[in-house]
């Protein structure tokens, strides 16, 4: 295994720029998720790392070996990478064993013990070895594809949305099996995904790609708790965005005076809290309050849509059985710190229902130019 370093990588198809200068470092032995909406260039980045396409400029380094850039292009077959495509891409004319041992030297291909070992690594029974790919379920195909990629002991494994074609139940199992196999093999892995839950739960670090640029690279917790901007915040989870005024490490907002993480310059700002930070209490005195407009009940938890006195609607995630009824007036408390994003031109444009953001409602903020933070 080795680390991966990508420097100032650019790529355009015709006149359409896809990557516009990406810097990324993947440390050896960890799993890095490459997260972004479809069309952000993440698959292109993966293909450049794999060597299926050549970058227009910039470089790719595996360990201390330059494989692309500076006029050099090591072909894919000499890079020592493992590749797990969407839907597995198992060779249909070969058995499971034939697929798994494809990348090995001729003498080792007949080694049944090795096949057993590799299938074992991905949590599959050796009985499957003589099946054809079309006799396997989608999840099994993905595991075989991973075993095939791991067999030649690659320096890095690239996974291109490997779980997106599986249905929900299978996806969770397959994710766990793949995560365990990668950890057991001690492989460096780069996982492309557009599913934030997948990225947050599987990865050691998450790289958020947007519009051909890297916008944030951090561990999952930091990404969720301190997103680089409101757009990233909306992409990795539900968010509540309020207009506020920052002074001395606290933000005054319609939900009261909130503690703010980090050093934020004084002045108008947009304040981010997560729905699970909102607690409903009995309305008391002059504390913030709201009216329950609707309630989504999920069993393990619920989501309340609260209308604030100013007309803005925010959501709160509620645990437990003690739920308010629709139409009830409740008091609102915020637990933990909020994140503040200073607004240059004043707070006026923040107010209104658009500020109540689920991922979809965050649309207005998408048009802002991306600020690269890494």
């Amino acid at each position: 295994m080795s680390s991966l370093t990508v420097t100032a990588l650019t790529k355009a198809f015709g006149s359409t720029p896809v990557l516009t200068g990406v810097d990324l470092h993947v440390p050896a032995g960890g799993l890095t998720a490459l997260l972004g909406p479809s069309g952000c260039g993440k698959t292109t980045l993966l293909r450049l790392v794999a060597g299926f396409d050549d970058p227009d400029s910039g470089s790719v380094t595996l360990g201390d070996r330059l494989v692309a850039g500076a006029g050099r292009g090591v072909p894919a077959r000499s890079r020592g990478i493992g590749f797990v495509p969407q839907e597995g891409g198992l060779f249909p004319h070969l058995t499971v064993a034939g697929n798994v041992t494809f990348g090995l030297a001729r003498q080792r291909r007949r080694d049944r013990g090795l096949v057993r070992e590799l299938l074992d690594l991905v949590g599959l029974d050796v009985d499957l070895a003589d099946r054809s790919p079309h006799q396997l379920s989608g999840g099994q195909q993905q595991r075989v594809a991973l075993a095939r990629a791991l067999a030649p002991e690659p320096s890095i494994v690239l996974l291109d949305e490997p779980f997106s074609s599986l249905d929900a139940g299978l996806r969770e199992d397959t994710r766990q099996a793949v995560g365990a196999a990668l950890a057991a093999a001690g492989a460096t892995a780069l996982l492309v995904t557009h599913d934030q839950a997948e990225a947050l739960s599987m990865a050691d670090q998450v790289a958020v790609l947007r519009g051909g640029r890297l916008v944030q690279l951090s561990d999952p917790r930091t990404l969720y708790q301190r997103p680089a901007d409101l757009d990233v915040a909306a992409f990795v989870g539900e968010s509540v965005v309020l207009a506020g005024d920052v002074r001395d490490g606290r933000a005054e907002s319609v939900l009261g005076s909130l503690a703010v993480t980090g050093a934020v310059p004084a002045g108008p700002a947009r304040i981010l809290v997560r729905p699970e930070q909102l607690r409903l209490v009995a309305p008391a005195g002059r504390g913030p309050r709201g009216r329950v407009r609707a309630l989504d009940y999920y069993g393990h938890d619920s989501r309340a849509h609260l209308e604030l006195p100013g007309g803005q609607t925010v959501t709160a995630r509620l645990e437990g059985a003690d739920l308010p009824s629709v139409g009830q007036e409740v008091g609102i408390e915020v637990v933990g710190a909020a994140v503040a994003f200073p607004v240059a031109g004043g707070a006026a444009d923040v107010a209104g229902p658009a500020g109540a953001a689920g991922p979809v409602d965050a649309e207005p903020t998408r048009r802002r130019p991306a600020e690269a933070i890494s």
Binding site: R77, F83, E87, F91, F102, G103, A149
Partner: protein, 532 residues
Amino acid sequence: MLDPASPGAPVPPAPRGSGVAARGGRRLRRSPVTLALAVCVAVLALLPLGYIAGYTVDVGWSGVRELVLRPRVAELLWNTCRLVLGTVAVCAVLGVGAAWLVERSTVPGRRIWHVLLVAPLAVPAFVNSFAWISLLPGLDTYAGALLVVSLSYFPFVYLPAVAAFRGLDPALEETARGLGLSGWAVFARVQLPQLRVALLGGSLLVALHLLAEFGALQMLRYPTFTTAIYDQYRATFNGPGATMLAGVLVLLCLLLLVAELRLRGARSYAGSGRGAVRPVRPAALGRWTLPALSALAALVVAALLVPLGALAYWTLAGAAGDLDVADLATTTATTLALAAVAAVVTTALALPTGRLAVRARSRVATLLERATYVGSAVPGIVVALALVTISIRATPWLYQTVPVLIAAYAILFLPRAVVPVRAAVEQSPPLYDDVAASLGSSGADRLRRITLPLLAPGLGAGAALVFLAVVTELTATLLLAPTGTTTLATAFWSASSAFEYGAAAPYAVVMVLLSAPATVLLSRNTRRGLLP
């Protein structure tokens, strides 16, 4: 065709490489050799058409008017059209009716009936017409021609109709029954509309084949464009009369072809991805069982037993006297050799076109692929006529040689190879190449371990289909075969034209035996149509 999947089994979609379609243009520029080869193939395929068009321009408007606007042409047009319309109607009734009985009713022995109803395809139409006219010499009328060609061509409707019945979702019929429709109303208002595409496709195929049919109609002495072209050719070699008749015929073919190509898109939509369809409860025939059985039996007797019986009778009758076993063996060997060479050449020619159509999806690639369809829609007699004239004028040293004959076969049967080759390329997307490369496999290694194994079934299927088509090809062979070279079809033709039925029959028997395997394959796999 030789699709590895059994009928009804859902074919897993091949994984797609990311953005293949979007990068078509780029890939087109990246594969200049494939592109150049595909262009050459298209030029070859369009050669006869180009010849006819060029000739028409040379003759000029007044010449065309003089040659085409004649009572004789009107008479041929009337003959051809009424035969095509009649045959299409009869084939539609026979094909859909038989398909319904076999697929959706409780008629006993459905599997056996299915094989027996596809089997007439193993008997070339000119052999079928030989059998009927040798037994009933009075069949040289419109009714006789209608009977014989309908019996030869109804499987072209039957096969797609069976496939369509199989693809119909029974849930729709159950819904209709739930809404209170009777059995007949379900057929008329639910099933028939869904069969429309299959029925139209089959009918167009019948019509295209009929326009190109020469042997069967010549034997029945029913004058149509093909027979008239042949007679003109015999009389005046390559006179303007024959060429202009060919022009009118080609125009009719192209009209039908445009309709066929338009329907093709609809067909792939209608037949796609239904997944596993629940088994259907067949309609109980009750007291109609016996009439249904009699109808099927009558059809099979007329379409299969009459020709086979006649061949057996004449073979036995001739065995005493004029059967030359050595001649038969030589002719069979010649035919097989020609068919083998044509199969290899045609499949090789199909490779660049099929590859380009999938790997570099673009307007140019589609046009090049369509060119092979257009070329093969030109009747054999026209292809032969064009190649005779072109080879005499441009390459006299090639006139009456095997390469010209092979070229004619390639033009006529290219789509039979292009379709399976294309399907095979579709099953081996560039993704597999990428994955193999990431596993350390070199270019040559990938060709050996990935590309060839994945393409082999498609190449084999294409070659087999071309091979079987060449074995029974009559018209082009008649005009283009080098002097002294006889195939099974031409040997049969010359003997039966001389009324030596006993000498002719054994050649037909060998042709039928050689065609039989293809028929078995067709009856097994009704998912795809018979022809591209």
